[in-house]
């Protein structure tokens, strides 16, 4: 199976997964029990029986944003690591030592982030 054939197969499979999932929901939509009369309480937002207190779309604590920032750093690192891991054998010692140096610098950055408290979840 060539690379392009493999991608065609992967694309087709994505379609298969989608159709199977959609089919289940369509079957449920056809079979489901419908209420005889509409009551307002049925479709009200669930808040443990109380009247909902305002909408839910509120602002959030910035610590979530901080996690996303740190994630970007280490995700970009993964982009460098993946091709390196495949070609480690063919490139040899240069690849090994330069990547170890890169990882060491990254680890220093991690120590800095820990000391700054950027990774503390309060």
């Amino acid at each position: 199976m060539s690379a392009s054939e493999a991608w065609i197969a992967a694309g087709t499979f994505t379609g298969v997964a989608f159709v199977i999932a959609a089919g289940t929901l369509i079957a449920a939509a056809l079979l489901r029990v419908r209420a005889r009369k509409h009551s307002e309480a049925r479709t009200r937002t669930y808040e443990c029986g109380e009247e909902p207190d305002g909408g839910a779309w509120v602002r959030f604590h910035p610590r979530y944003y901080l996690v996303a920032l740190v994630f970007v750093i280490f995700d970009v690192e993964a982009v460098f690591l993946l091709p390196w891991a495949v070609s480690l054998r063919s490139v040899g010692a240069v690849a090994l030592w330069s990547m170890l140096a890169f990882l060491a610098i990254l680890l220093l950055g991690w120590v800095y982030a820990v000391k700054k408290g950027a990774l503390r979840w309060v």
């Binding site: 199977i20 929901l25 079957a27 449920a28 489901r32 993964a78 054998r89």
Partner: protein, 336 residues
């Protein structure tokens, strides 16, 4: 690998429908098994009324979910709310495309198979957040926010753990990774240290990414009702449930492929035997994961983040460095 049925599209269609139907059947009985297993662990019997040993329970549950009323809250974002359960199952199934079940029995043997399932795994957060935001419910939103923070954080050690077999085998193609472990040279056993460490890291990070106990704070029924699935009813709720179980079975299968030699086992290389070894290993790993699930308590939000950023991340980096040094050292020894 070969295209088994004419064109690659037809090959993917036939194999895909076969494997997905088999998996959905296995999943419903896996849920039955989990309920029995959990029951025994808690000195209960588990399901027993529908059919002998409760064996017809999964079928009864499926029909119950299908005929339940479908409620969409008035204030919800309808498009996001209704699309989320569909995508939850779809994305959970996606990793199956690159999974070799036996030699030559794979839907799409991509050159970048490892990258493909990492990307598919990272996508699981999208339907979760669509549900969390689209419900316009405070519990669902909190659950969604927690899920994003958790999946994003645990995605990093997951990539590092998956890198170790890539370094050891020198390929991102899953069939090559299995071939590199042929004859019992499983990466979990050899080289001692990095392989097993990365395997444990992989399982922990995958469980966290799929929001499974003990990492299920996005659901946390004692504080968030049911998290992102609070507002869902009937089959739409069932889809999230199904997606979670499919994900945990796929994680077990990927762990077996990357670290336990995939379909490698004693005996001749015939399809049926390879399939048997694969199913046997995946079942063992799944039972082990169930055992963990019903033995440990849920971690707190801050404990979860501390575990990931302060322990798993640096150990992941060290494991990658250690396996690279190992590869370089053994290759040097061979050429000298």
């Amino acid at each position: 690998m070969n295209v088994l049925f004419g064109s690659p599209a037809l090959h993917a269609l036939v194999l895909g429908v076969g494997i997905v139907s088999a998996l959905l059947g296995v999943t419903s009985y896996f849920i039955w098994f989990e309920r029995k297993f959990a029951g025994r662990m808690q000195s209960r019997i588990g399901p027993k009324h529908v059919g002998p040993y409760g064996l017809l329970q999964p079928i009864a549950d499926a029909f119950k979910l299908l005929i339940k009323a479908d409620i969409t809250p008035d204030t919800a974002d309808r498009a996001l709310f209704n699309l989320a359960p569909l995508l939850a199952v779809c994305v959970a199934l996606l990793s199956l495309a690159v999974l070799p079940l036996a030699s030559g029995l794979v839907i799409a043997d991509l050159d970048v198979g490892v990258l493909f399932f990492l990307a598919a795994g990272a996508l699981t957060v999208v339907p979760t957040w669509m549900a969390g935001w689209g419900s316009n419910n405070k519990y669902a939103l909190l659950g969604g926010m927690r899920a994003i923070a958790q999946s994003v954080a645990y995605g990093v050690p997951l990539v590092l753990a998956a890198l170790v077999p890539v370094i050891l085998s020198g390929s991102m193609k899953l069939s090559d990774i299995v071939a590199a472990q042929a004859g019992g040279h499983w990466f979990a056993l050899w080289p001692p240290g990095p392989g097993l460490g990365a395997g444990v890291l992989f399982v922990l990070a995958s469980l966290a990414e799929g929001n499974r106990i003990p990492f299920d704070i996005p659901e946390a029924e004692s504080e968030l009702v049911s998290g992102i699935s609070t507002e869902y009813t009937g089959m739409k709720f069932g889809m999230f449930y199904l997606g979670e179980y499919v994900h945990s079975l796929v994680v077990a299968a990927l762990f077996v492929t990357l670290f336990l030699g995939g379909y490698d086992g004693p005996g001749p290389d015939v399809l049926a035997l390879q399939l048997l070894w694969f199913v046997l290993k995946v079942s063992l790993v799944s039972v082990l994961l169930l055992w963990v699930r019903w033995s440990y308590v849920r971690l707190r939000s801050d404990q979860l983040m501390t575990l990931c950023w302060k322990y798993l991340l640096p150990s992941g980096l060290l494991l990658v460095a250690a396996s690279a040094v190992w590869v370089w050292w053994t290759e040097q020894g061979g050429s000298r």
